[in-house]
């Protein structure tokens, strides 16, 4: 990078800081801080969700795996998008009707205060540590691209601005800067793709020079085979139903139909976007065939082949992806702490003013924790992976108790929920560390244990339904607010067009699964069938958001 590139990056940081900070005046109450006053419109929400889900790790880590193992890693993003459509159509509208802010809040409504506090404490640490890990990854990639070798300087560049504007403007700042950052990261990727492809002789060059099967989407064997696609799809559904960062943005939607539209649109726009960073990873395989660290593939591509000024713009795009992911999760930590721990346990008489002040303080403290964790990552080494695995294992039981039993089985009680949550986590840890199962299998073991233990303990203990349980069940149907505003959203469609759209959605799912099963048999058409199924699935989902 030269001085002009640095100037572009500095101008970007200044602009984002300015835009993020002006929303300070928009914070009137805690709902403004947590959820942008529940005012987000469909296209703004879609950009916010897309920006949050794409971070620098997507550009660097996923393209690195594409470099090493070929294109199938793209299913990580694509099945995540499919999961987002599923949760947007069937699950998050229920949560939005309940007007909750966090999943722990739902857990109190459904089970007990104890379950809420327990999960909230785990989530605060989980999000802070996760932020530290993605900051560390971002800084190591930025060192190669920018030529700035100071770890501390890059940590400060990628954290101070975002901490301040998130602290000042809460979700308003997060949302509006996310929209700008989404546009910038898409622009950067659009510049990178043709440059990378031109160096390898465009598509024919890519096909001819890559190892066999690198462009085969559904593979019969290997680390990223059809089994990986199915496993990551199921994990994606768990993520799309309980992830605080994603849910909090969705709860900021102006109404229930906007929740569904925003999630479906975000999924649709992120799907072609994923090609824009995976294809350069494949091109890098041809240009730099023997890299020891695959994560350096795209950074090296940028450092070697992108002319100055253009490089500055792409770096702005990459930084945008990092800042948007950071701001969203910082706001998530502040919300969980202020709402589920401070307001609910530490100071039940807190005023809105107190809560906003605490949320701001927590934003700063979470930012500091993120920086400390980023420094700790290389020191901790393997412990980082261990920690990330444990928290990932704990997500699946949370999905089981919150969504599967929380929304579908009234008899599940708080004893069953806590028992199921911990037994799932313990089973996962035993599978991972004692039996050395791979991560996908471990996750299913963890889910299986939670699925089994929750009903056993629930049935063995007293049936003590929460008094709000009927309120939760009612949220599956249209609310008075929707009827009053003449903007109803039926989870199960009532009209012919609505039913037709749901039919298209499930037909797409069926075709997608057929394609994956064909892949298990090594059939040539598997990739085309599964992608066609995915496209039909998205079309059905989009139609459902416009019909009843």
């Amino acid at each position: 990078m030269n001085s002009l590139d640095y100037l572009i990056v500095l101008a970007f940081l200044g602009m984002i800081f300015f835009v993020g900070s002006i929303f300070y005046k928009w914070i009137g109450n805690s709902d403004d801080f947590y959820l942008a006053g529940r005012n987000l419109t469909p296209f703004i929400l879609a950009a916010v969700l897309a920006a949050t889900n794409i971070n620098l790790y997507s550009f660097i880590g996923q393209s690195g795996i594409a470099y090493k193992y070929g294109i199938p890693i793209i299913w990580q993003t694509w099945t995540g998008n499919m999961a987002m459509v599923f949760s947007g159509l069937f699950v998050i509208p229920i949560f939005r009707r309940l007007r909750i802010r966090t999943i722990p809040e739902f857990l109190e409504m459904r089970y007990s205060k104890g379950v809420r506090t327990l999960v909230a404490v785990i989530w605060v640490f989980r999000l802070a540590f996760w932020l530290g890990v993605i900051l560390y990854t971002a800084v190591t990639a930025a060192q190669i691209i920018t030529g700035v070798h100071s770890f501390t300087a890059l940590v400060l560049i990628l954290s101070v601005v975002v901490i301040i504007y998130t602290m000042l403007g809460g979700m308003w700042s997060v949302a509006l800067t996310d929209v700008i950052q989404f546009i910038l990261m898409l622009s950067g990727a659009l510049i990178l793709l043709p440059i990378a492809m031109s160096y390898v002789g465009w598509w024919p060059g890519l096909v001819a020079k890559l190892p066999k099967d690198s462009l085969l989407l559904v593979q019969q064997t290997g680390k990223y085979s059809w089994k990986f696609v199915l496993a990551i799809f199921l994990l994606g559904i768990e993520w799309a139903c309980v992830d605080q960062g994603l849910l909090q943005r969705a709860f900021g939607a102006e109404n229930i139909r906007t929740v569904a539209k925003g999630l479906v649109l975000a999924a649709i726009i992120t799907t072609p976007f994923a090609l824009l960073w995976n294809l350069p990873g494949l091109a890098a395989r041809i240009i730099f065939p023997h890299l020891a660290n695959a994560d350096t593939a795209v950074p090296l591509l940028l450092a070697h082949f992108i002319p100055n000024i253009v490089l500055g713009i792409i770096v702005v795009g990459l930084f945008s992806s990092q800042l948007s992911a950071t701001s969203g999760n910082l706001n998530g930590i502040a919300t969980v702490f202020a709402s589920d721990i401070y307001e609910n346990v530490l100071n039940r008489k807190a005023t809105d003013k107190d809560v906003i002040l605490v949320a701001r303080i927590i934003t700063i403290l979470a930012g500091i924790a993120m920086i400390i964790f980023a420094y700790a990552v290389p020191v901790l080494g393997g412990a980082v992976n261990a920690y990330l695995t444990v928290i990932a294992i704990m997500d699946m039981p949370l999905f089981i108790i919150a969504v599967v039993y929380g929304l579908l089985w009234k008899r599940a009680n708080w004893q069953g929920a806590i028992g199921g949550y911990f037994s799932g986590a313990i089973a996962g840890i035993i599978g991972q560390y004692f039996f050395k199962f791979d991560f996908n299998l471990t996750t299913f073991i963890s889910a299986g244990a939670a699925l089994l233990i929750t009903p056993i303990i629930s049935l063995a203990t007293k049936n003590s339904p929460s008094d709000k349980i009927e309120h939760i069940w009612k949220a599956k149907k249209i609310s008075e607010e929707e009827s009053k505003n003449n903007n109803v959203y039926n989870i199960i469609p009532k009209t012919l067009y609505g039913k037709l759209s749901l039919g298209i959605f499930f037909l797409g799912l069926l075709i997608f699964l057929t394609g994956i099963i064909m892949g298990s048999q090594g059939m040539e058409l598997a990739s085309v069938i599964s992608v066609t199924g995915m496209v039909i699935y998205f079309a059905g989902g989009l139609l459902k958001t416009y019909t009843n």
């Binding site: 703004i44 659009l190 043709p194 465009w202």
Partner: protein, 42 residues
């Protein structure tokens, strides 16, 4: 001259998303701004 329709096809989809996501959110944000001002004036 060779024209790689696959790469440019993907690029065009991305570019279309870019244009739509510049135009529509600005329109929606203007509405939000107006609503916010109206709320403050109430």
């Amino acid at each position: 001259m060779y024209f790689d329709w696959r790469t440019w096809g993907i690029w065009l989809i991305g570019f279309t998303i870019l244009v739509v996501w510049i135009y529509v959110p600005i329109k929606e944000f203007k509405k939000l701004l107006k609503k916010r001002k109206d709320d403050l004036n109430k």
